[in-house]
């Protein structure tokens, strides 16, 4: 499985993502500079990493979304390519319009770094298929702008099309534990073709038993399985 990580100036989880992808696929993930305008051939997945692309100045992800490479990433997605955006990557995806909605400042107005619990709302996606239905996983968040909002009509569509991938919850799966005020506790959403996922929590940061948890690893495993059977 061939994967690549887009690197913006200010990305700071690019290496973490590279490590997680390389570990999961057994093939080194490539790094692609934001000023490039073309993608290497034969990619199976493009990851947009966390961090502060362009300092997150103006709006999070806004300037990154207008980088030269993002045209090719959009084309890749529109051709049915798999794109994963984590944290800042999610913000970039909403800014490009590849995913609906926007990420606003956390309701508590502060940066928040902690482990959160997520309810896997659908296993019908390459990213979530390795998780048991309705299962609860633990992964860290680290962001200042993770407060997801969409208009009511789109929210209804997301629900109707089963495109909400993860919601924040308590350890026992009950409602609560939302760290940022996101609408409907949404932590991650899928595109219409279910191949683009944006999520605020960082699966790549808890994919190693040495770091105290492996729940994130299954997301990458699901991808690998999907590609193997595709």
């Amino acid at each position: 499985m061939k994967t690549a990580v887009i690197v913006f100036p200010g990305s700071n989880c690019d290496r973490d993502m590279e490590v997680a992808l390389t570990q999961a696929t057994g093939t080194p993930a490539q790094r692609i500079w934001h000023k490039d305008s073309t993608l290497p051939d034969g990619l199976d997945l493009i990851a947009l990493p966390g961090g502060f692309s362009f300092g997150d100045y103006l709006r999070c992800g806004a300037i990154g979304a207008r980088s030269p490479i993002m045209k090719s990433v959009a084309e890749f997605a529109n051709r049915g390519g798999h794109v994963l955006g984590v944290c800042n990557g999610f913000q970039v995806l909403t800014e490009t319009g590849l995913l609906p909605g926007a990420l606003m400042m956390n309701a508590g107005l502060k940066f928040v770094c902690r482990d959160v619990h997520l309810k896997v709302e659908t296993t019908d996606s390459p990213y979530t298929r390795a998780y048991g239905n309705g299962g609860v996983i633990r992964v860290p968040v680290a962001h200042h702008e993770g407060n997801y909002i969409v208009d009511d009509a789109t929210l209804e569509t997301l629900k109707a099309e089963d495109r909400i991938a993860f919601t924040y919850c308590r350890p026992d799966g009950t409602e609560g534990g939302n760290p940022n005020g996101a609408m409907a506790d949404i932590a991650g959403v899928l595109s219409g073709n279910r191949r683009v996922l944006g999520m605020m929590p960082h699966p790549e940061r808890l994919a190693d038993p040495r770091l105290g948890g492996e729940d994130g690893a299954k997301l990458f495993k699901g991808l690998v399985d999907t590609m193997a059977t595709a």
């Binding site: 103006l58 709006r59 806004a62 300037i63 207008r66 909403t94 800014e95 609906p100 909605g101 926007a102 606003m104 400042m105 956390n106 309701a107 107005l109 407060n147 909002i149 005020g181």
Partner: protein, 79 residues
């Protein structure tokens, strides 16, 4: 030419920063504040001197970058 662009959250979009300011003003003893909204002001120095030429350019800047029209409105002011 100097232009000022005001970017504000659309009606109906929750503004946690504005709310926090309202709350803090209350705590500081300022009463009679019924609503606070926080927006951005972006001041741009343009070489262009002609307003009619500058305006479409500024509009394009707003649409393409300065505002996220999913949640924000913008208004352009030129000197």
């Amino acid at each position: 030419m100097k232009a000022r662009i005001f970017v504000t959250l659309k009606n109906g979009v929750l503004d946690p920063q504005g709310q926090a300011i309202a709350h803090a003003l209350g705590t500081l003893g300022f009463d009679g504040v019924s609503d606070v909204r926080q927006g951005k002001m972006i001041e741009i120095d343009l070489d262009e001197k002609d307003k009619t030429k500058a305006e479409p350019k500024l509009t394009e800047m707003c649409e393409k970058l300065l505002a996220n029209t999913v949640i924000e409105n913008y208004r352009i002011e030129m000197d």
